[in-house]
Amino acid sequence: MKFPIYLDNHATTPMDPRVLEAMLPYFTEKFGNAASRNHAFGWEAEEGVETARKQIAKLIHADAKEIVFTSGATESNNLALKGVVEMYHEKGDHIITSSTEHRAVLDTAKTLETKRGVKVTYLPVDKFGMVNPEDVRNAITDKTILISIMFANNEIGTINPIKEIGKIAKEKGILFHCDATQGVGKVPINVQEMGIDLMSFSAHKIYGPKGIGALYVRKKNPRVRIAAQMDGGGHERGMRSGTLPVPLIVGFGKACELCEQEMAADAARLSVMRDRLHATITKALEEVYLNGHPTERLPHNLNISFAYVEGESLLMGCKEIALSSGSACTSATLEPSYVLRALGVGAELAHSSIRFGLGRFTLDEEVDYAAKKIIETVTKLREMSPLYEMAKEGIDLKTVQWAAH
């Protein structure tokens, strides 16, 4: 086993060696500009790009012409929201989104509120982190121009009822954008069946390179139009200017092709591994709470809170394992995860949360090591925790008058 062990695959994934292999020629001998129409170098690069476009489109059941390349999902989210608001501002000024979206959606929505006077509804989620489609329906007004709901949450892995939301959007004739950064390549996504009009995703979450993402923009039923947010050469059907990073695009395409072939097997293997990790931990430790949905969740995600233990100290005790915590001990605000808070998880349990993100290259023995190490560290830190001591003495921590600081 090699250390440190990487269990933070929601943050990013290692590149698949097969992806790197596909990319390499495009850095050197096939270096052309895909927009050069007059010579072989350009044609070769363009061919690489168009093959990738097809591979990407196939994974999500779209047409290759509907793929717009961006620098990543953050840009795709910005382009979708800002581009729709600018293009359709005469039709209305209302957007519906949810409180557990990624910051790239939430902060874009905030900017649209303050700079463009757009009205934004932030829908609540249930205790599992799921958006209720009926809430979407009830929030729609005659001024609503866009619904933006994430496919799966990056912290807790909960998968939203996208198909139902897409159906409501269609019924009401409102555009539906889906931030599917965590879902694409992990679970089957079909933009036709799910009624998605715009969809953001990126390569580095699916064993591809960093710095490349895509926005799916529906071409018919309805034909979606967005205003470009950057002026330039009018690449990508005028929606996103800038010379295409051909090697990254070729890698993105290869990564999608591999996901299409291996996604089902990866998901089956990882969900078994994830469930075993969860079972081993809950068997050994009391007061461990699952965050997110018990079944409607990404196959490689596990998010749990260990009562009486602060998350960052837990990570410090498991420093040979790369994990992530909802504790915000290092953030300037000292606020724990807004996602967990939106689920109604208490601040103390939000501070105690750990996210495990398994991936294509995660080994059984790594997960077993992680379980053992987590159990040891939680046990040690609980011995050190005044809260655990008080709870053991039968004191109800909720009735204690704390000196907040």
């Binding site: 960052e312 501070h351 001591e389 704390w402």
Partner: protein
């Protein structure tokens, strides 16, 4: 963000971790912080003839909070009650090389010392 060597050392080998019985003679207990803020420190001192002969801590919090309270117990031992009251959070920041974002951990440790001393004083006065 990497932790300083001293923080890592206190975290891996906490000094004086544990508890005294609160009602025991000469014991002062300070509990500061709140679970929803992600830090709770319990610091206890045992005083004989105006001198702190022993100290213990338990902390729920990040590595820096654990290290700050562990260090505080080391410093408290052997000090008089008056000397103990003069320990400043800035001393802890300096000793542990805490970054700005972790200064609140040292503040909490100073508050815990003050709370333990006040509790000891209150118990002594009520006798």
């Amino acid at each position: 963000m990497a932790y300083s060597e001293k923080v890592v050392d206190h975290f891996n080998n906490p000094r004086n971790m544990g508890s005294f019985k609160k009602e025991e003679d000469g014991v002062g207990t300070g509990i500061v912080g709140a679970p929803e803020c992600g830090d709770v420190m319990k610091l206890q001192i045992k005083v004989q003839n105006d001198t702190i002969v022993d100290a213990k801590f338990k902390t729920f919090g990040c590595g820096s909070a654990i290290a700050s309270s562990s260090l505080a117990t080391e410093w408290l031992k052997g000090k008089t009650v008056e000397e103990a009251g003069k320990i400043k959070n800035t001393d802890i920041v300096q000793e542990l090389n805490l970054p700005p974002v972790k200064i609140h951990c040292s503040v909490l440790a100073e508050d815990a010392i003050k709370a333990a001393l006040a509790d000891y004083q209150k118990k002594a006065d009520s006798k």
